[in-house]
Amino acid sequence: MRKLAFLLSITFLFGKSCVFGQVLKFEPAFKQGEIVQIPIAILQDSKGFIWIGTTDGVYRYDGKESLEFRHDPSDSTSISNNYVKELFEDRKGNIWMGTSFGLNCYDPRTETFTRFLRTDTDDLTGDNFIHSIEEDHRGKIWYGTYNGLFQFTPSTDSLIQFLPSIEKGEKSLSNEVIWDIHEDQQHRIWVATQLGFTLFKNDGTLDFQAYYGDMKNENGLATDRIFNILEQADSSIWLSSYDGLFRVIESNDSIYFKRFHIHSEAPANLSDNRVFDLYSGGRNRLWLGTYAGGLNEVVISPDASENIKVIHHKEDPKNVFSLRSNNIENILIDESGMLWIATKNGMDKASLSGNKFQTIRSIPDDSTSLSSDIIKSFFKDSFGNLWIGTFKGLNFLSAENLKKGIFQFEQFYADRNNRFSLSHNNINGIYEDSQAYLWINTFYGLNYIHIPTFLKKKKFKHFNERHGIPHTINHSTVEISPGEYWVGTNGGLARMYCNPAKSDSVRFETIKSENEIVNTHTLNVIQDRFGNYWIGTFNGVAKYVTRQGKIFFENYIHELGNPNSLSDNSFRCFFRDRKNRIWIGTRSGLNMVVQESKESRDWFKTYGLKDGFPNDVIHAIEEDDQGQLWITTNKGIVVFNPELKDPVVATYNQNDGLAARSFVFRASMKDENGNLYFGTADGFNFFHPEKLPQNTYVPPVYFTKLKVLNEVIKPGPSSILQQSISYTNAITLQYWQNIISLEFAALDFNKPEKNRYQYRLSSLNNKSWINLKHNNQVTFTNLSPGEHLLEVKGSNNDGLWNEQPTQLLIKVLPPVWRTWWAYLFYLLAFISSIYLFVKNRIRRKTEKIQAIAQLEKARAEEREQLRKKNTADFHDELGHHFTKISLFLELAERQSAENKPLKEYLSKIKSNASGLSEGLRDLIWSLDPKKDSLYQTLVRLQEFGDSLFEFSDIRFKTDGLDEALESVELAPDVKKNVLMIFKEAMNNCLKYSNAKNALLKSVIKDRHCYVVFKDDGQGFNPYEIKNGYGLKNMHSRAQKVKAQLEIKSVANQGTEISLRL
C-alpha cells in the first residue's frame, strides 16, 4: 500500500504520464443539451472537426456547436439513415458513413451526401447494414456488412461482393458478418468477422485465407468473434475479440497468436474480455474499450510479446471524474491529445496531457498520507518543515521530504489518553513566533511546541480556559512583541503574555479599548504598513489604533449604498501584498483597503462578480512572483491583477484539476520557492504558478457558419457559397445583402469554452486585432462596396494562439448606381454636358460674332451704298452741270460758225469737258461695288472701245468676255488702273496705229488673267518712244496694282499690250 501511495505520489508531483499511466479525469464531452444521442462512432477529420455517429443522426462538433445531419425522406442528398455505425475519411477528404441502411459519402465541400444502397427496400439480408469501411491504397472503398464484404470503386461505380464459399472453404471469406476491415502496410487486407478473420493480398489476386477460432490451440485464435483489427506503427497487428486481446505474430509464413485476457493469476490483466474497441495510444500503448469493464489502458513492454501492464479506468459512482459507464462502444484520441470515449451513457472525454494542478488527498488507512481531506491551514516553519492543519489532525512533512517531493506525513491527533497530544483535532491556525515556537490554534485550546526539539518527543503544550484564555475556540496567534501575543478567539481578541522558552506561565488580558470592537468573535489579525493592526471578526473588520495613549477600534462594516464601504461583514481572510496594500476577503467580495494616511479613516475598493470573478466568496489570497493575486473562491481560483484594466487574468476550476470546487478560508500558503498551496475540503492543491502545464496544441481555425440577412447559407449552385464555408476563401455579396455574420471555431477540445478569438477586417481603420474573448462570431452590417479581408485568429484554452490567421475575402458589389461603369457613365455624361455647354457657348459666341460681323458688313455695305449714293448724287449734281456745259457749248459752237478761232477754242473746251465728264463717270463706276469684277471692267472697256472705234476705220472686236469672269474680283483701284491702261492703249491705237482691226480680249492662262489689246497697225518702237504714248503711265499703273504689263510692238505688225493680273 505504501508503495502504491509512493508511486501515485510521484505521478501527482510530476504530472507527467509516467511509465505506469495516470489517473484520468473524465468529464462529459458535451454540455447539457448538446448531442444527447448515444454515440457509437467517432472520427476526427483532417480539418480537425469531431464527427459523432449516434443511433439517431450524425454530428459534426467544433467545440461549441454541432452540425446535425439526419435522414430527410424528401432530400435525396441527406444521409440514408440515422443509425450511423461507422465513420471513415478517405484521402480526398470525403467522409464515408456506414449506417444500418446504406453507405453514404459526405462531401464537406458541398455539404451533401451521396447514397449507395444495394436495394431500395428495407432488406433483411443485411447488405445495407454497414459496420466497417476502409480505403485501400488504390482508392477503392471496402465495406463490411451483415451480408458480406464489398469492394466499391467510386470512379467506375462498380461493386463487387464477397461471401464465404463452401467449396473454397478457408480460401474464401471466413464469414459474411463483417466487423472490421484493415489494409496493412504490406497492402494486405484483414477482415474481422463473426467467425474468425480473413487475410488476403490486395494486389488483384484476392487470395483469401481464413483463420477460424481454435480453442484447442494455445497459440491459435481462441475465439471466433473478432471485432477489431489494429496495426501499430511498428506493424504489429492486434485483434480484439469477444474473448480477449490478441497479438498476431507472423513467422515463417505461419501466423500464431498471443492472447491477453483475464487470468486470475496474471498481475495485471483485462477488466473484461469482451473488447469492443481497440485504439492505439502510441508506441507501446493500447486502449481497449470493453463491454462491461470500462476502459483498459494497456502498456506493452518494449521487449515484445510477453508482458503487458493494464490500467483499468472504470465507472465509479463515488468519483465524479470517473467514466460514466463501463460499456464502451468507441474510442478516439484527437490531435491535441484528448481521449474521447463513446459509452452507452454518452460521450466522455479526458485529457491525456495531464492536469494543471496536482491534488494531494488523504488516503484511507494510510498513516503517511494526510490525516484528513478538509484542509484548514498551512504553515512552513523556519526549518523548512510543512505543517498542514486539517479538520481532523495536524500533519507534519519534514523539510527533507518536502524537498524531495515525498509527501509522507506524520499525523498528529488529539488523544485523550495523552496529555501531551494535541488539545483538539480541528486545527484553525498555525503560527511560528520569533523563538521558533509553533503555535497551533484549535477548536479547543491553543497549542504550542518548540520546533527544533519537538520531533524527538513529540509533545504538545497548550493553554485552555484554565489559563484564562477568553475562549477555547481560537483562530489565530500573532506575536506583537517578544512576549506579547494577540490571540483571536471566539470571545474576543486577547493579549497573551508568556515566554514559553522560560516558563509555562501565561497571562491573558482582554484589550481595554475606548470603544467596542465591532465583533468579539475575532478570526485573524494583520498589520498594515503604518503599523496598525487590522482585526477580522465574524461580523466586520476593525482597526486597532492608539490615540493619545488610548486604544480605539476603528470599526468598518458594510454600509448599504456606500460602494466605498466594506463589501460584506463576513470576514474571511486578510492579505498584505508586496505593495503593502491590505486585502480583505469576505463572503461577498474582495476588498482593497485604501489608506491615504496613518490617521485617516480608510475606505475600500471592492472587486467581485462584476469584475469577472466566477464567484465572490473569497476564501484565501496569495500572491505570485509576478505580483498577481491568486484568490480562491467557491468556484475555483481567480488570478487577479488589480493594475490591469481587465483585472481577471485567468480562472481555474475543477476542470483544470483543482481538488475541489470550493476552498477553505485562510487555507493557503506560499513557500519560499514560489509554490502556492491552497486547501479545499477535498485535499489540497499545490503548484508553481509559472510552471502550470499548458496546452501546447495549436488549434486549427475554420469558419463554420455564414449567415446573410440572418439566414444560414448552405452551399449550392445558386448560393453565395459554391462550397461549404469551411472550404471557401472568398464570397461575393450584392450590396443589399448587407447583414453578414460569420461563426468560426478553433478546433481544440480541451476546454473549448475557454478558446479565445480575435479578428481583423481590412477595411476598418484600426489595423490592430480586435479581441473577441470567447465569442466566436462576428457580424458586419452595411459593408461598403469593395473588398474586405476578414482575418480570424483562434487560441486554445491556455491562450496559445494560432498565429496563422484564417482568411475570408468578402467582396461587396456596388449597387448599379455605384458600379464602375455607372461612374464611367456619369463621367461621360458630365464630360459631354460640359462639351455641349462649351460648344453651345462657342456657337453662340460665334453666332454673335457672325451677327456682329454681318451687321458690320451690312453697315459697311450700307455705308458703301450710302457713299456711292452720295457720290452718285454728287455725280448727278455734277452731271447736270456737265450736261448744261455741253449743251451750251453746242449752242455756242453753232453761233460761232464764222469765228474760226473761237470755234476751235470752243471745240477744245467741249472735248475737255467731255473728258472731264467721262472721267467722273469712270470714277463713279469704279466706286460701284456691283461692278467690282474683271468682267465688268472688260465690259466697260468694250463699251468704251465700241464708241471710240465706231466711226473709225478700225474694226473693234472683243473676245473672251465670259460671264464667268464676273467671279474674278478686282479691287476698285485695280479695276480703275486696268481701265486706264487699256483706255490709253485704245486711244493710242486710234490715234497712231492706222490699224484695220483691234481686239480686246481676256485669257486665263496658268492661273493668271490676261487682258490683251492688240491691233494690226504699224506698231512702234517701245524704246524710242517718249512720253507721248503714255507708256510710262501705263507701266506705273500696272506696278501700282502689282500686275505685269507687257508691251509688244513690232513695226508694221501691230502692237500688243497685255496685262497679267
Binding site: A872, H880, K884, S886, L887, F956
Partner: protein
Amino acid sequence: MKEIIHVAIVEDDDEIRQTLALIINGTPGYHCKHTFIDCESANKELPNLYVNVVLMDIELPGISGIDGIKQLKPQMPNTDFIMLTIKQDDNSIFDSLCAGASGYLMKDTPPSELLRSITEVYKGGSPMSTNIARKVIQSFQISTPPSPLSGRETEILQLLCKGMNYRSIAEQLYLSAHTVKSHIKNIYKKLHVNSRAEAVSKAIKDKLI
C-alpha cells in the same frame, strides 16, 4: 428728201430742257416743239401729238419716267421712247426698257451723239449694252419657262452678254448689222410684252390676294 424727226422732251430741269430743245430744233432734220416738265402734263398732251421720239428723263418728280412710259407707250405704240439719265443704273434702265423704252442715253452725252442716237432709234436700231443684255436674258429666263425669244434672238442676247458689239455679232452670225439691230428691237418688244404680262399677272395676283 430728208425726213424730219419729231422729238418731244420730258425733263424737269428748265435749262436742260430748253437748251436741248433749242439744239435739237436748231439741227436740220429735227423738230422739237413740245417739251414737258413732268409726266402728268406729258400724259395729257403727248398722246394727241405727232411725235416720233420722246426723250424722257428717268428721274422725274412725281410720276417717274418709268411709270410715265408705262402709261404713255400703250397710247403711243409707234413712238420710241428714249430714256435720259444722269446715272448709269442698270436696274432703272432695265426697268424703263421693260416699261417700253427703246433705248437710253446719258444726259451729258455730247449733243451730236445724242442726235445720232435719236436718228438710230427712229430708224429702228436700238442699242443694247452687255449688262442690259444679261438682264434681258435673266428676265426672260425667270418669267415664263418657254422663252418667248426665238433662237436667233437668244443667240444674239448671249453674244451680247459676252461683250460682243453689234459688228462682231453680225460677223459671227453671218448677218448684217441691220438685221442684228432689228432682232434687238424685237427683243425689246417682247420685253415690253413680257413685262406687261408680268405686271398684269402680278396685278391679278395682287387683286386676287
